[in-house]
Amino acid sequence: MSGQIRRPEEIASGGGVREFRTDVLVLGGGPAGTWAAISAAQRGASVILADKGFCGTSGATAPSGTGVWYVQPDPAKREAAMASRELLGGYLQDRRWMARTLNQTFENVDQLARWGYPFHDDGVGFQRYGSVMGPEYMRLMRKRTKQAGVKILDHSPALELLQDEDGAVVGASGLFQQAGERWNVHAGAVILATGGCAFLSKALGCNVLTGDGLLMGAEVGAELSGMEFSNAYAMSLAEGSVTKTRFYDFAEFTDANGDPIPGAQSKGGRSVIARWLMSGPVYASLINVDPETQQAMRRAQPNFFLPLDRSGINPFTDRFSVTLRLEGTVRGTGGLRLVDESCATSVEGLYAAGDAATRELICGAFTGGGSHNAAWAMSSGYWAGAGAASYARTRRVLAQPSKVIRAGKAALIEQSQRGYDPLAVTQAVQDEVFPYDRNYFRSELGLKHSLERLDRLWRKVESADKASVLHVAQSRQAAAMVATARWMYRSALERDESRGMARRVDRPQQDPGPRYYVRSGGLSEVWTRRDLQQPEARVLEAAE
């Protein structure tokens, strides 16, 4: 640790509120948030990182582990890596962002190795630089974040952003969950790294991911992009939480009688499984795996086997019942729109990284799970940290902003209607987004019906009185999920075709016309807009 680190300051406390001042405030402490915090600190910024849970265990990566889009800097290999998913992604990727993500990820993974991450080659291809164990990776990231001089606030969900009179974001306000106190952080720039939204489905590590950053962003007018790419479902043991899908590539899927289900596959045949699950159980068994490979699989993903072992199931010989849990935008690609290479959003002073941001730039319309999202989280985090640090430097002269405006609305302001029950609202949203026939298999009519109910739900949320300190975090989560579901379904309607994961049963074809992105935003009134893909971003279909 160097002695020259700029530190955040606590400037006041009392009456159940603590006030801090820092150059950069990072919200969320998964891979995107920790890389952002370290990158900002390396550039001389004082940094506070606030996490809803515990930085190091919280978020999708920590309990899961990830494959990483790590490709040697050999032009032919890089070209092949970029080209390989363009068709799947419906050609919505941007080559410029793919190339810089590959570069940055390569550097960051090397950095991890230098920091002592225990990469090793298992000889069978399941481990190497191309994958990280979640607990180990995120424990290391917590340590390096602290060593960089970053002040970490755990169990400290952000509730709303703070703005100055010109609309620039100048901090955030949140809750010390375990102490029941409030915090305000005044910052030169804020990075939203709050992850995606999985609607409390209990997919592995995802119950802290409720779209909070999307709501906070939308409340200051930030734009979203690609919210139709938000119906990722991942497989787990029927009653389990471990949605690790890679080893299901070895699975044979059978029905209640033990007969193979035609066309059922984890990759390329997951919709068949979803259809089957609507009428009955689906069983999996990992077949034709030799003992040596079985051992390598156990070493590579101990968490895949954990619930199976504990349920007394041998996945290589037994048939076990599986389900598909919604991972929403976590392994989807929609999120806050970025306007430049520093990962700035459309609002001054506000940056976004990781799953809180759109990943269309590198994944297009297809899931970012499997390697791209992890690469994106570390790369976009790194860029956002740098961008926020240099922007914050320009704001340092303004020691105290003249007037701070609280941007949060739902569950945060006094109103005449009674406060809502966050559990009931959560249940109501889940009823719209969990069922396969509503979200996996979307149709114009189904989307419109869901939206009518969701809009009604939002009107209730938006006119309700502020929540007590005991319920405010849950109430904000519930509001964020309602808002997210509305952007998802409005965007799905706007995209009048099927592309990548955004399938419409009533529009099964990909539109051959000019390619566009669906932007969205707004709360009382949700809006959508089509932006044509810029010619320079366009990837060559000939590359397939």
Binding site: K52, G53, F54, G56, T57, S58, G59, A62, P63, M133, P135, E136, D154, H155, Q177, Q178, K202, L204, G205, C206, N207, V208, L237, E239, G240, S241, R298, P302, N303, F305, L306, P307, L308, D309, R310, S311
Partner: protein, 88 residues
């Protein structure tokens, strides 16, 4: 979901109270308690971080189940995740 804190093994270090992402545990004057089991997301992180192998997370994510602590200890099931990731 999280099912047990083993009173015999737990030292009251409170690491689990901090490490649980969904704030399931509360501190007490003695060892922590499972205060909000319904908020457990079955992520197994508390098990990974507990230095004493004093916690057990059952594989069922959707409802609480009863577990036999003595059998889990006898079969070395409690602590098995920490061993599998090389943390013990």
């Amino acid at each position: 979901m999280i099912e047990v804190i083993d009173k015999e093994r737990c030292t009251g270090c409170n690491i689990c109270v901090h490490a649980c992402p969904t704030n399931v545990f509360d501190t007490t004057a003695d060892i922590p308690v499972i205060a909000r089991q319904g908020d457990c997301q079955t992520c197994y992180m508390c098990e990974a971080w507990c230095p004493e192998d004093a916690l057990y997370v059952a594989p069922n994510a959707d409802k609480a189940v009863s577990v036999d602590l003595a059998a889990l200890k006898a079969g070395d099931v409690i602590g098995s995740y920490r061993r599998a990731i090389g943390w013990s």
